[in-house]
């Protein structure tokens, strides 16, 4: 009855889950559409355990094995054809994340600025200028997938990963920038460290940010870094209604 749209592919992924995948480029328009459609599915479909969002897809997980996949698929397509993401407001937040770019906290800053032919000051300016879009959390608990890195800062990952990237390290890898929420192995070039706790398993909501929020960085001194980390000061934010 409802034709599958060329830009939306619906696929049974496991016994209990359905994958919706968009053919569009992962731009801001698509992100907003995913955030709104996710909310719509959550309030209109029964038996959903959770929906997870990534660049171009939504994964719908159900409580029980799917018995009537065909009906469910039709229902999802019907919901999709009747919805208009531009008519819905999204409540999101803009987060200000402090970073200490001092050499002690930025193991690869010197090498990277040499490669990119930029001064430390220019590099930091280019990194703190954009408003980054938060797409989703993955890779590690509390790791934010950000879009918006200045093209002048694009740089390949290191050839072999560092075994112990420290907690809060801020890196550049390819076209991406991000914060390591915990000590872990990693291949990105480290240009600074944030004292902000990106993941706290003791909180009911262990990560402050969510898909659709935005973020920007600002530069801080070592003294401020220590103050924020020791007192576990949460980042400040502005409410946005889009």
């Amino acid at each position: 009855m409802f034709q599958e749209k060329s830009f939306l592919k619906i696929f049974q992924f496991s016994e209990t889950s359905i994958l919706l995948e968009w053919k569009a480029e992962p731009k801001l328009k698509l992100l907003n559409e995913l955030v709104v459609f996710k909310g719509l599915l959550n309030s209109n479909l029964c038996g959903i355990k959770q929906i997870t969002l990534s660049y171009k897809s939504l994964l719908l997980q159900f409580n029980d094995p799917l018995k009537k996949y065909k009906n469910l698929k039709d229902r999802i397509l019907k919901l999709y054809s009747s919805f208009d993401s531009s008519k819905t407001t999204i409540k999101s937040k803009h987060w200000n994340i402090p970073i200490c770019y001092e050499s002690k906290y930025a193991s690869d800053l010197r090498v990277l600025s040499k490669h990119l032919k930029l001064s430390h000051h220019q590099l930091i300016k280019l990194h703190t200028k954009p408003i980054y879009q938060i797409y989703f959390i993955g890779f590690l608990p509390g790791f934010l997938y950000l879009e918006g890195l200045d093209t002048k800062l694009y740089h390949p990952r290191k050839e072999s990963p560092t075994l112990n990237v420290s907690k809060g390290a801020v890196g550049i890898g390819g076209r991406q920038t991000g914060i390591y929420p915990n000590q872990s192995p990693g291949g990105w070039n480290i240009i600074g460290t944030s004292p902000t706790l990106m993941f706290d398993p003791d909180l009911k909501q262990p990560c402050f940010a969510k898909s659709g929020d935005t973020l920007s960085f600002y530069s801080i001194s070592e003294t401020t870094f220590k103050k924020i980390r020791e007192n576990r000061i949460p980042p400040n934010f502005k409410k946005l209604i889009l």
């Binding site: 696929f11 049974q12 992924f13 496991s14 016994e15 889950s17 994958l19 995948e21 992962p26 355990k49 959770q50 997870t52 969002l53 990534s54 660049y55 171009k56 897809s57 994964l59 997980q61 799917l66 996949y69 989703f136 959390i137 993955g138 890779f139 590690l140 608990p141 509390g142 790791f143 997938y145 929420p181 915990n182 872990s184 993941f199 398993p201 003791d202 909501q205 262990p206 990560c207 969510k210 898909s211």
Partner: protein
Amino acid sequence: MIEILNPGWYTSIQDQGRMGMQEYGIPYSGAMDMNSFNWANKLLNNPLNAALLEMTIKGPKLKFHIETVIVFTGAQMDIKHNGNKASLYSPILIKKNDILECGSCKKGCRTYMSVLGGLQTERILRSRSQCSYITKSGHINKKRILQIKKKSFELNKGVTLKSPLPPYNRKEIEVFKGPEFDSLESVTQLKIVTQTFTISHLNNRMAYQLEEKIIHQLPEIWTTSVLPGTVQLTPNGTLIVLMRDAQVTGGYPRILQLSNHALNILAQKSTRDVLHFKLKSFE
């Protein structure tokens, strides 16, 4: 309480895991072999989500400081209860100061030990399952004390105690097509579902790598959702089967998805075990 005298090779506390927390990037976790996990709790009339011990390759040595009842399920293992041989799939009555010594796993690599009422360890983000970055440690350490409930025991009469062992020797792993399977050339598809694969030494609660390589031309994809049981194909042709503690997103093509049943069977396989994929459709 239970005192850990020796933790064994890799023993961790597990329940059904952290389903519903993946939007924060938190792994699913939970018992690797859910079938054996469920039996272990069922045989004690425990709540479905009661936490227990998952023992890998070689089990721990434990001292009990409380009366309780325990059950072992999963991989065959030599278990000595105060020096006497004990068996799997039947409740064992434990008295204060009893010593339990677990040997190595045979036919399978994960043995489960449930305790009456379940382990009462700390719940973090809806689960007691141990997992790196979420709980203080990913496994139990020597000298750790595990709290349990004081509870009276009634045999679960509705349950057959002689339950059939899971088919650990089965080489067939049931799979569905993954989202990127159809992008593979048909000869490659055929190869994947007909050839035999060997589990590499790189296998743990996060993922199992397979040794045989599959040469392909698939591009990497935009980072997307993955599940326990998702089979990824890396650019150099390695197949990686994601397990319960895997990351919740990935950028490698997802060529296959294991059925729940197959995921439990694979969890009992280890280094150098062989398998082949059997393609199935959902209908």
